[in-house]
């Protein structure tokens, strides 16, 4: 009874905690999709009372299945879809948290999607699957010679755990695989990459494509003039990413080509009231963070500069790059204000 009561409260809490769901989504989704989401939400509420509701993989499988059912799929096919998507999600999570290496991850992905293709296209297998798959390895019990394969463990077509050796003929064993060096690279990306978030940019359109206009000395440094982005909602920040390519070094000791990428925030625009142009400054002297220092050096010491620009909003919606262009500094400079 207490458990039932908790479940009810839980459902209520979850329901209450999603007030923004229809609001947030309705703006972007047609009615049909909103209905689909509501259908899945009802399924979610139901899952809360089921044994296994503490297991995220179980919840995922139930929701993926519900998703297909809510889209009017037949139950046996929905079960296949739910199982495959839940397995793929589980494998993905393990890969991303480092508990599964790239080789094993790819093996699982290919094995699962291979079985998915077979189940959806082979009526005999589909019918057998509907009758049962005890160990959830996507091999129907009727054909499964090892009916207790561990969760997520790749199997052969007989449902027994795949054991690859030099003489293995199973195609999954011949799958090219990432190396441990690749795993280290992936780890590095996970450690160093950043994701931009800004709720004010929800439902914002793709920024228009900026163009680089001119550049030249001014305001104690180098002023870069680009067309302004003005199609974003208020408070949704816009960034201008500028790629520089410098060649023809003034000093023989400098590398022949130097690159820099700098991200300017719209708050750095020297002409905030100009509706069509944005101007960004890189000081000619002094210490600067990151690649701004490289850009400062290139602008001062190299004889030729090629550049391009694109815009990105706070939710990482990107414009296309402008065409890269070699451009000399404006002979009369680019000055802003007095």
């Amino acid at each position: 009874m207490i458990q039932l009561c908790f479940s009810f409260i839980g459902i209520l809490l979850i329901w209450i905690s999603f007030p923004s769901l229809p609001r947030a989504i309705a703006q972007a989704l047609p009615d049909q999709e909103t209905k689909l989401i509501q259908c899945v939400r009802l399924a979610y509420a139901k899952v809360q009372s089921e044994e296994g509701s503490k297991n995220p993989d179980y919840i995922r499988r139930r929701l993926e299945t519900a998703n297909a059912l809510c889209a009017n799929e037949n139950p046996s096919k929905a079960a296949i879809i739910g199982q495959v998507n839940a397995d793929l999600a589980q494998a993905a999570r393990q890969y991303l948290d480092g508990s599964l290496n790239g080789k094993d991850y790819l093996m699982i992905v290919n094995e699962r999607t291979g079985k998915y293709a077979k189940l959806l296209n082979d009526q005999t297998w589909a019918t057998a699957y509907a009758a049962g798959d005890q160990d959830q390895d996507l091999i129907p019990n009727q054909f499964d010679k090892c009916s207790d394969s561990p969760s997520l463990r790749p199997t052969n077509q007989s449902g027994c755990p795949l054991k690859c050796s030099q003489s293995s003929t199973d195609p999954a064993c011949r799958l090219p695989a990432p190396s441990s060096a690749d795993d280290a690279i992936v780890k590095r990306i996970v450690l160093s990459s950043k994701l931009m978030l800004n709720p004010a940019c929800d439902n914002a359109p793709t920024p228009t494509q900026p163009e680089q206009l001119l550049w030249g000395r001014g305001n104690g440094g180098y002023n870069l003039v680009v067309t302004k982005i003005n199609n974003q909602p208020t408070k949704c920040e816009v960034f201008y990413e500028i790629d520089f390519r410098f060649d023809q070094p003034g000093l023989s000791t400098d590398p022949k080509v130097k690159y820099a990428s700098v991200l300017f925030q719209n708050s750095e625009d020297l002409t905030p009231n100009d509706p069509r142009r944005a101007i960004f400054n890189i000081p000619a002297t002094g210490s600067l963070p990151g690649q701004r220092l490289t850009a400062q050096y290139g602008l001062g010491k190299y004889l030729r500069m090629q550049w391009r620009v694109r815009a990105v909003n706070g939710s990482q919606k990107l414009s296309k790059w402008s065409a890269s262009r070699i451009q000399k500094p404006n002979s009369s400079g680019v000055r802003v204000g007095s």
């Binding site: 793929l88 077979k118 992936v186 990306i189 990428s261 990151g290």
Partner: protein, 565 residues
């Protein structure tokens, strides 16, 4: 207990959210390269429409070449007369000061009065008064590329000033690159099974960001920490700390580059953008990759004779690059699928009745497109994209010049090694950036007239081969009239591209397929691009790839114009 659960859900979502970072974009050849390839193709046609074989030293004087000259001349006339299909410019005045310097005013005079009053799109391509920019539609300026010139040697052929040159090549080139603006080709969405988590986390983030509503940069490590604690303790420890740090840092830190997560930042509902357009811009002609797919999955997900992009088996050997594997994990965690109803691509690029003697696509249902996350979906191949545009043009050339852009775009992409092996990793982005940076050198060498003429002869020889390819097909299929076997042509070009770069010594040295370059690009674009720019001994190959594409475009445009009455 429930509170913990809610926290766990929030954290789980954060993990899912993290996965967005891995879902990387798929680009076509950089826009300006597409534009320039088509423009050069037209300038070559213009040059040869003014010459005869006898005027050109060392060129093939065969009857076929002589006929080709005549055909080219007829084609340029027809192309020039086709309505451009351009909408009105976005702005009536130019913000670019160079325009005012060159023109004495910042207000262009498009001279669209008279017969074309109020019907800008009806202005013939040859009468478009200014060279239009690649951002003519997607930008917010007047849409004029003041820096455009026909190029060394071609300046003599297509001579004049800013308003007096023939801009047909620029307009065609514009439509070629504009295929990347077809944002409706592929829409994504988060399956409802996962969007519940998204809404919870969105609320959490909004509360965390409070009234500042700034942009917060959250490390993937941060998300990973949250993943570790999500199911046990919620947002605590490292997870909480790094989120707090990110919010504090938002106001002070400066950043250099946008991590290439391009648009897959947290969002609700429909997800689209230039990032997903390119999913139909690949064809994997690698036998090694395709045999792996066949071995593992039989013919179940072979929908076309040559598959398009299938991320789980992308690349020249069927081994996806690291960013592709990460994208796949991200998409699976978040449940990101193609949104069939909103996506035009599946409807446009499945060719079930091509009537061109090329194998047709096997028809797919919406389920086949959207039940699994996108990395497990075989996207339609590049040659089908070409066919779609060609069909629109062929059936109504007078009002559909823009659709020439599709086959021309496909031809351009078929010269990129990564596009013909269905991968957006393996060095795809830095390779294309390097080609963009070096495009002038690759297309015109040192710019001397003699060198350009020599390259031009080579291009024409190659173009004649492509023209014969088309004519032979027509001879075999007389009932198809002036049809163009564009799917065959793009597939053949893609195979030639792979064959040209598939040199064991180069492959071993990491060119052109270099997955490390793609991951390096995430952190240091210059370093990755510089690798390709400085790679020794491949300039000729890059040149051949581009010129083969230009040659194919010449043959295609010449043949396509024959369907214009």
């Amino acid at each position: 207990m429930r509170y913990k659960k809610l926290k766990a859900i929030i954290c789980l979502f954060l993990v899912i959210l993290t996965s967005l970072i891995y879902s990387l974009p798929v680009y076509a050849h950089n826009n300006i390269v597409h534009r320039d390839m088509t423009d050069v193709a037209y300038e070559v046609m213009l040059a040869f429409s003014k010459f005869s074989p006898a005027d050109v030293n060392s060129i093939d004087k065969s009857p076929e070449m002589q006929q080709f000259f005549k055909d080219i001349k007829a084609a340029t006339l027809k192309l020039r007369s086709l309505p451009s299909g351009l909408p009105n410019p976005k702005a009536s005045t130019c913000i670019d000061p160079t325009f005012a310097q060159m023109h004495g005013t910042n207000t262009p005079n498009w001279q669209t009065g008279g017969a074309f009053e109020g019907a800008f799109e009806a202005v013939p391509m040859g009468n478009v008064r200014y060279p239009i920019s690649t951002s003519y539609i997607s930008g917010n300026d007047c849409g004029i590329d003041v820096s455009w010139m026909p190029g060394p040697f071609y300046n003599e052929v297509n001579s004049g000033g800013l308003t007096s040159r023939d801009h047909t090549g620029v307009v065609l080139g514009f439509w070629t690159q504009a295929v990347d603006d077809e944002l409706n080709d592929f829409h994504m969405w988060i399956r409802p099974s996962n969007i519940l988590f998204l809404s919870v986390v969105k609320e959490y983030l909004e509360k965390a960001l409070g009234v500042t509503l700034g942009t917060v940069w959250i490390t993937v490590k941060c998300f990973t920490s949250c993943a570790a604690s999500a199911l046990t303790a919620g947002i605590v420890g490292d997870c909480k700390k790094c989120l707090d740090d990110a919010i504090k840092e938002a106001k002070s830190a400066s950043h250099d580059v946008v991590t290439e997560i391009d648009g897959l930042a947290p969002g609700f509902g429909d997800i689209t953008g230039s990032l997903y357009v390119g999913m139909g811009h690949h064809v994997n002609v690698s036998q090694a990759a395709n045999s792996i797919v066949s071995d593992l999955k039989g013919n179940y997900n072979h929908y076309d004779d040559q598959p398009g992009m299938l991320t789980e088996n992308a690349g020249p050997n069927g081994l996806p690059g690291n960013i592709e594997v990460l994208s796949m994990a991200g998409a699976d965690l978040i449940g990101m699928s193609v949104h069939y109803d909103l996506s035009l691509g599946p409807k446009r690029y499945e060719v079930t009745e091509g009537n061109d003697f090329h194998p047709n696509s096997i028809d797919r249902s919406d389920d086949d497109w959207q039940y699994l996350s996108w990395p497990h979906i075989p996207f339609t191949p590049l040659d089908n994209l070409a066919w779609f545009g060609w069909k629109q043009f062929r059936d109504n050339p007078q009002s559909n010049a823009k659709y020439l852009g599709w086959p021309l775009h496909a031809i351009g992409d078929a010269t990129v090694p990564m596009h013909v092996t269905g991968t957006f990793a393996h060095g795809h982005r830095p390779y294309e950036d390097a080609i963009e940076n070096q495009r002038q050198e690759l297309l015109y060498g040192d710019g001397s007239s003699a060198l350009v003429r020599r390259r031009l002869r080579l291009i024409m020889s190659q173009a004649l081969l492509w023209r014969k390819f088309i004519l032979n097909w027509r001879a075999k299929h007389p009932a198809n009239g002036a049809d163009v076997p564009i799917r065959d042509l793009v597939t053949q070009l893609a195979q030639q591209t792979l064959s040209k770069v598939n040199q064991p010594n180069l492959i071993t040295a990491g060119w052109p397929f270099n997955d490390l370059a793609s991951t390096t690009y995430l952190l240091d674009k210059g370093l990755a691009t510089g690798f390709y720019e400085a790679f020794p001994g491949v300039t000729n190959i890059n040149q051949e790839l581009l010129e083969n594409g230009v040659a194919a475009e010449i043959a295609f445009l010449t043949s396509a114009a024959e369907s214009v009455k």
